[in-house]
């Protein structure tokens, strides 16, 4: 593995090799390139969808930019900026500063799996919410989420989950006049 201090040893990584070139440093920021390509993909998809619009149904009103012209302009601008971003990532010198201030977080490394489990849990919850109902599914979801965050107890999280479920139910029922999905409990009462 190249150490950067011994010119006799072969260079095994492109990044280290690039760092060694004098006069044309190339810094590959994988995240930046992915971001640029994702935006390029979005712009291209928007452009394609714009071409599919059947604006003969709504003729342009007195000229100017029409119902399809406006998203066309947005798509072209997006593609142009996305190409610029990708080129900046490939050829840029400075590292971009984070767009958002970092959160007030501890020193432990991020665990991506926890975010994935959280997302999967809430998607399943959404699918079951209407047929089964809020009062049954919500405490289960909350206990699952607390366990994902590492709380290995059962009693305290369950009590917290039930209290929070009831609190939200009351807040929406009497604060916003929204009846949350009843599911099987509604069917039983009928």
């Amino acid at each position: 593995m190249f150490t950067g201090s011994d010119p006799q040893k072969p260079v095994s990584s492109r990044k280290a090799r690039d760092a060694e070139e004098v006069g044309s440093p190339v810094r590959l920021e994988k995240k930046e390139i992915i971001g640029g390509l994702a935006c390029l993909g979005f712009g291209a998809w928007l452009l394609y969808q714009t071409f599919l619009l059947d604006v003969e149904v709504a003729k342009r009103v007195g000229g100017g930019v029409g119902a399809d012209g406006y998203p066309f302009l947005l798509a072209v601008a997006t593609i142009a900026l996305a190409i610029l971003l990708t080129l900046q990532a490939v050829f840029g010198r400075e590292r971009q500063t984070p767009a958002e201030a970092p959160g007030i977080q501890g020193n432990e490394p991020p665990v991506f799996k926890r975010a994935v489990w959280c997302f999967l849990s809430v998607v399943i919850y959404t699918a079951l919410l209407l047929p089964i109902g809020y009062l049954i599914t919500t405490p289960i979801l909350l206990v699952v989420l607390m366990r994902i965050l590492g709380d290995r107890r059962w009693v305290v999280p369950l009590v917290n989950a039930l209290l929070l479920t009831l609190g939200i139910f009351v807040a929406f029922r009497y604060g916003v006049n929204i009846v949350l999905p009843e599911g099987v409990l509604g069917n039983l009462s009928n």
Binding site: F42, A67, P71, A77, L81, Q96, I178
Partner: protein, 503 residues
């Protein structure tokens, strides 16, 4: 002046138990979300929007204003006691408030922060009341070219002046504008990008977008890396001795408020910059700059007063022109739109009662911040100990059912998860979210006025623009805002090269 008096004559619409208690609840909730780790005034405002659906307009907006004002201050409590800013806006406050607390003057530091916030909010409110009606009277004569230029300025300014890459900011803004084009075309009514489903004919659900981008993405990020538990053991009281700074250091308060309001009016800058700029100015003008960073009273006054005055400044362009200057104000604007009120100059002529009530709510809120903030600090110090998992679960449930409450359809929840993933991916990729939400809110104004302007101008672009000096001037500012990051980059590179050169 007539415009101001005509609006203020309707301040009585705030006089009632419901608007008053909505404001008080908003202040308490706002301070709470400012204190609690990982929340903040933006999430607080977003989560409160569904609760405003069944309230009258003045009470609903009073609730949101209270959260905005309280949240802008709340982070100062943890900044003072723990040395960690509860919100980014309190980062400058920390520089002197925490050293003051460490020297045994925690009560003085907290009282001074609260006083600064209250005074800053009050002075910001006075400027809001005096300038917004006047600006609206000027703006009512704006045509499509002027309105489009202002919307473009709002978008480019927030994309290029806020933190991070300007290109990413502009891309986020374009994505926001694109999302706003889903549904019925504002000029012809032609349906675009609904993919054959009736659910999207009215466009993307704003609340789902807002909750998804900000709340769900935050929950996912905090599941990935939870915030550390905070413990505060200090006993805090009210230090009435600090009140004398009102007459011993009046210039400090006034200077900070002026900085805060001016920064607040400019889109994309916000409370963080205003508090640091005000802090720097206070240090530059001080007879003892060496005391800053060691518990200097003027340091705390400068940062907290500016930060709170910014809230008043930020409301001026939103109410008078319909251009939100930051994501919190954009969220509030969404709340107004849901109430059937379109922010902009016309509001000052069609709905003076509402505006008079809002102005009264803002100023009363700034005044009430002082007693409420001071009285509840011992409670807030205990609340910091709430388990983080419970906090995130609460945010998640409020996001889900806040979205469901809009139209009571599960399709909105699928939109919520989609935008949650989009927001999460954007934050991981270093893309700012603020330009996206502002692009979405401004989208209809932007498109309508752009298309109208192109219809009117026909083939004579230059002749059209020459007759519109305001639009030309604003377009000039757009160009400047686009050139600003390039100039900044060149300046920093030059500075870096000079630093690298041997002495």
């Amino acid at each position: 002046m007539t415009a101001v008096l005509e609006t203020l004559a309707h301040a009585g619409s705030f006089a009632g138990w419901v608007p008053f208690f909505s404001l008080v609840i908003g202040l308490v909730v706002g301070i709470l979300v400012g204190v609690l780790p990982g929340l903040g005034p933006l999430l607080g405002v977003i989560m409160a929007i569904p609760f405003t659906f069944h309230m009258d307009a003045v009470s609903g907006v009073a609730l949101l204003l209270g959260i905005y004002q309280g949240g802008s201050y709340g982070g100062a409590i943890t900044a003072t006691l723990l040395g960690i800013p509860g919100t980014p806006m309190a980062a400058a406050t920390l520089l002197d408030a925490h050293p003051m607390a460490l020297k045994g003057f925690a009560s003085e530091a907290v009282t001074l922060s609260t006083l600064g916030s209250s005074v800053g909010g009050f002075l910001g409110g006075i400027v809001l009341v005096l300038t917004a009606p006047v600006l609206a009277k000027i703006a009512i004569g704006f045509g499509p070219a002027e309105t489009f230029s202002l919307a473009l300025l709002g978008l480019t300014a927030i994309a290029t002046l806020s933190q991070g890459s300007a290109v990413k900011g502009l891309l986020a803004g374009l994505i926001g504008l694109s999302l706003a084009s889903v549904g019925n075309d504002p000029i012809t009514g032609f349906t675009r990008f609904n993919f054959g489903t009736t659910y999207l004919e009215g466009g993307i659900t704003f609340v789902a977008l807002l909750f998804g981008l900000f709340a769900i993405s935050e929950v996912l990020l905090q599941f990935e890396k939870p915030v550390r538990a905070w413990q505060a053991g200090a006993r805090i009281g009210v230090a009435f001795s600090t009140f004398k700074t009102l007459w011993t250091k009046p210039i400090a308060y006034l200077r900070a408020a002026l900085v805060g309001v001016i920064i607040g009016v400019i889109p994309g800058i916000g409370g963080v910059t205003s508090s640091f700029l005000s802090y720097k100015l206070a240090k530059d003008f001080s007879k003892h700059p060496e005391n800053f960073g060691k518990g200097e009273v003027e340091g705390v006054i400068a940062s907290e007063t500016a930060n709170s005055a910014t809230t008043g400044g930020a409301l001026i362009p939103m109410l008078a022109i319909g251009i939100p200057g930051d994501p919190i104000v954009a969220a509030m604007m969404g709340g107004l739109l849901i109430q059937g009120l379109t922010p902009g100059p016309a509001l000052f002529f069609t709905n003076r009662e509402f505006l008079g009530g809002i102005f009264a709510a803002f100023i009363v809120g700034a005044v009430l911040l002082l007693p409420i903030g001071l009285a509840l600090i011992p409670l807030f110090v205990r609340i910091i100990k709430i388990p983080h998992s419970l906090l995130m679960a609460t945010v998640l449930l409020l996001s889900i059912f806040g979205t469901y409450a809009v139209q009571r359809q599960v399709f909105d929840l699928w939109q919520l998860w989609l935008f949650g993933i989009v927001g999460y991916a954007m934050r991981k990729g270093g893309f700012p979210l603020a330009p996206l939400i502002i692009g979405f809110v401004l989208g209809p104004i932007f498109e309508t006025n752009m298309r109208r302007a192109t219809i009117i101008m026909g083939d004579d672009f230059f002749g059209f623009m020459i007759g519109r000096p305001i639009a030309l001037g604003v377009m000039g500012m757009v160009v400047l805002s686009l050139l600003f990051p390039i100039a900044q980059n060149l300046f920093l590179r030059r500075k870096g090269r000079q630093a690298d050169q041997p002495a």
